[in-house]
Subunit: 401 residues, 3 copies
């Protein structure tokens, strides 16, 4: 893309109504209007373009981005840090292990105590069903209240880096990858495309549901033919299934659930096969944890591993890839994947398939820092188009060569 | 506050003599003259004002702030990081667990090795009586020597983030909160006000003495009537009691010690009830640690918990609040508090009292990053008034909207 | 040094051919030409000079420096962070303990996933013979490939912060210290100087070989008379011995190996006595680790400690120092040292010797952040001389006083 590319992005941005993103949080893609999502994609592309042309994207002279990871993380940690750094924010990690958070201390208190200089708060909390999204919302409400009460000088906004329901930064990044793969970044190019979000066998258990749920919740809004496939017993949350159905009806695509991986792959333009845990088992686990019933958890784990083992045939082989559109569907994965004979004996995908798409898989991942940066940009900047154009013209070098 | 507010602050700053703060450390409030403390309060308000008006307060283009926490910490960690970030310093945490510090390696060596690019060093070391303050001074002397010997290009200054004797950033922040509550930031408004620094029951033991000691050491300098109240056996360090007495005599207020919580609360304008450990027990613990006598430590803990349990009536009830000035004393706490029926069964304060003052308690905490930033500013900037006015006029945006 | 000093440095830089450093990695000093090493020394001095004159050395407006420490570290961690901070990069630490790196996940994948905004990657991996250097090269190849495939917008370069073979930032810093001690920073002043890299007794075992190996691999290129001394059985890697011999033959100095500490010290201008482990024992340990043979490792440790204990007379005494040139050789150590009666009962050096050279030892350490910054500068800046002169003239203040 040349300067023209940037102007085109600005022209697209001008037509979109996205003012409600300003000073607001991002939890679930289906909380947002289609134009708001489009604005995020356009701004992500614009920020990437500025960086490609070695132009500074700093809008903060000082300020903190707070990160909260309630689980180990590499990719998301570095994506959030990269996004903050792009905009001029320094990351302060709230590592609960190093913290002196008193028993019974309210979230309202903790949230305000760490946020005096916070402009954005990135939270990943995907472990327990019914908890993550609630925690993120409570955190956001807490700092909003702190701002309204005059405790905080600014309104820190929250970006969900994955909850128990949705994984919005992943899904938004993945969709932008699809759009660049099929149509130079244009989301319209995805209309009518068939995408298979399917379960796949992994020797581990308990992988988050937020990926399949986030996928069907978002792609049904793009006019795509979305097929969710999994063995019986691996159902997603009913609420999200309803969201997907409603979206498909409204947005001109379709949404189907099947128990056949092959049916899902048939003529698919995109395949997204990935292990996840049954929703009901995760509910059970959450309850067992709540009761401190560790024997019960061990028993559940064994039961789930045995259940998984019945479905080792849910794996991406070269054979299976052949049934996709022209045998050349775009294979996707949020990474890291369980690759047969590489990371495990039997896994989600054959090594030859993974390797053929390796470059595309990395490209897929590369959109995430820009999506996060775009979300922050639109949450904190009052007139995003004017500011982006100003950054383009100012042409402060990101690095001086 | 408008521009006028900023001018007023500058006018006040002009009259103060605070040149000795430059290139010096901050350990104890009673090391400093009253005008030096006033300068810190004025500069803290000025920096906050700049930030409120979205003006950059960066004075460092690069440089490190080293943090050393010899105990878990959230609030202080984020306050120090916020202060450094405000001024343009990146925080590098000296996490002793990740460090390769050799047995017998001298502090002189460690201090110099981490400080080649350090502009300020924030140290919290409040655990062992007789150790924290000494460690901070040794660290400061070490880097001062490194600077004088030409090892370090700059003289890194030390800010105590709490030691075994004083908690200066907390106390300075709390006092600024009082002054804004009673008189628009004017310390003169605190003259003649009665403040009750009292012990309160908590189900834990061994909370630091630096808070009550820091309180009586500072507030007696402001012409306040300071009452220290605790059950028999919970005495503070004799040295600090002497400091408080001397201050009261010199500064026109008073200092009283009592064993009655109610007497302390009587007609008080401000109440500051908080658990702490007896000084003599902490001395004993330090010795037991030194001898590696862990059975002795367990025994001491049990003894202290039993001793505490005799004083469960030292708690802030609605009843007790009624005896304060007009029943409306300002309730304060450094947080987190032990709240009855919230964080514990029986604690320092009733939930209804805590809740009524919640907003004020958070406001109290919000001054700490600015106090730390002001200390650093005055330690490192030769002509603070000129620099603040320059920052005001330059009007570089903290965040570009 | 005044402005003249800076001009002189620029004049020296102009004569050097170092273009191959641009967009390349730094693993081993003997990978680089002598002029390339000279350029690093000159740029390190120039960056230090800018900082001494309070001039900004920022060349990055945003960007990350990734640090990977596969072992605890203080000095190197702070040196790398200081270097990145000097240039405007924020450090993001890839802490493998906090990471979600899947079993069998390829380094190619991890390296790319953390590097979307990475400008430089500093890696320390000195533990296992045959592993560290290989890991660093693989990491560098991985991100280079990511850049070439269009995954990464920039080519992140790798700086070795120590591997199993060499410790280039230490050795480059040490050499610059020698040159400033003997000749105002001029490497020519080291020609004909005798340096003794000798083993010394320490009560621990398994200290890295990269220091003696790095020393003999670099100093033989400076026309120095390099003597490597150690008890029988403490041999270095054959490959590096060959490098040292070849260098000495080509560069007009000499390289000798002896089993006598006194012989090495005789008339030496510089002595560098330090404990290390026998290469063959480290090979054995690596194999034992590979087999998970922990009994074998314990047995090896005992054997090595006993072997060490036979050589307690390999220690730096005042007596021994007297045989050096005029009794006044420059005593060096990478720190921390095992000091007799300070950090241990019997160690590498007598306290009186260490103390006499303490200031020089700290000065030695102070060059490391500048060496690392110079490596990054030359890796990332196309026209280093022009950029340095621009920074000098622009005169943006590092800190505003």
């Amino acid at each position: 893309m040349g300067t023209q590319g940037f102007s085109e992005l600005m022209a697209r941005l001008e037509k979109l109504d996205f003012q409600k993103l300003y000073q607001d949080d991002f939890f679930l893609t289906w909380d947002k209007s289609r134009e708001e999502l489009d604005a995020i994609w356009v701004v992500a592309d614009a920020i990437r373009k500025l960086r490609e042309e070695n132009k500074s994207t700093r809008i903060f002279d000082s300020g903190l981005g707070i990160s909260i990871f309630r689980d180990n993380s590499t990719r998301t940690r570095f994506s959030f840090m990269s996004a903050c750094n792009l905009l001029g924010l320094e990351v302060a990690d709230l590592d609960e292990k190093k913290s002196q958070i008193a028993h019974g201390e309210t979230l309202l208190e903790t949230a305000n105590m760490v946020s005096f200089m916070a402009d954005v708060i990135g939270i990943r909390d995907d472990m327990y069903i019914g908890k993550g999204h609630t925690y993120q919302k409570e955190f956001a409400d807490s700092v909003k209240r702190g701002f309204e009460e005059g405790i905080l000088e600014q309104r820190p906004t929250v970006v969900s880096l994955q909850c128990d329901i949705d994984h919005p930064t992943q899904m938004m990044a993945d969709s932008l990858h699809f759009a660049h793969y099929f149509g130079n970044g244009d989301m319209e190019s995805l209309k009518g495309k068939k995408i298979a979000m399917t379960w796949a066998y992994s020797p581990s258990y308990g992988k988050p549901l937020s990926v399949p749920q986030g996928g069907i919740g978002l792609w049904t809004r793009l006019g795509m033919d979305v097929v969710l496939a999994h063995p019986e017993g691996y159902e997603d949350m009913d609420d999200v299934i309803e969201v997907a159905k409603k979206n498909a009806a409204e947005c001109g695509g379709s949404f189907t659930v099947t128990n056949s991986m092959e049916e899902a792959f048939k003529d698919a333009d995109i395949v997204y096969p990935k292990s996840w845990a049954p929703f009901k088992a995760m509910e059970e686990r959450t309850e067992l944890y709540g009761n401190g019933d560790f024997d019960g958890i061990d028993e559940l784990e064994q039961r789930l591993l045995q259940q998984n083992a019945k479905h080792k045939d849910w794996t991406v082989t070269e054979e299976l890839m052949k049934v996709t559109k022209d045998g050349k569907a775009l294979y996707c994965h949020p990474l890291p994947a369980d690759i047969t004979d590489v990371s495990c004996k039997e896994g989600e995908v054959d090594a030859s398939v993974f390797d053929r798409y390796r470059k595309e898989l990395y490209a897929q991942a590369s959109f995430k820092p820009y999506i996060i940066a775009a979300m922050i940009f639109l949450q904190r900047v009052k007139n995003p188009k004017a500011k982006l154009e100003e950054l383009y013209k100012a042409d402060v070098k990101r690095m001086q060569e």
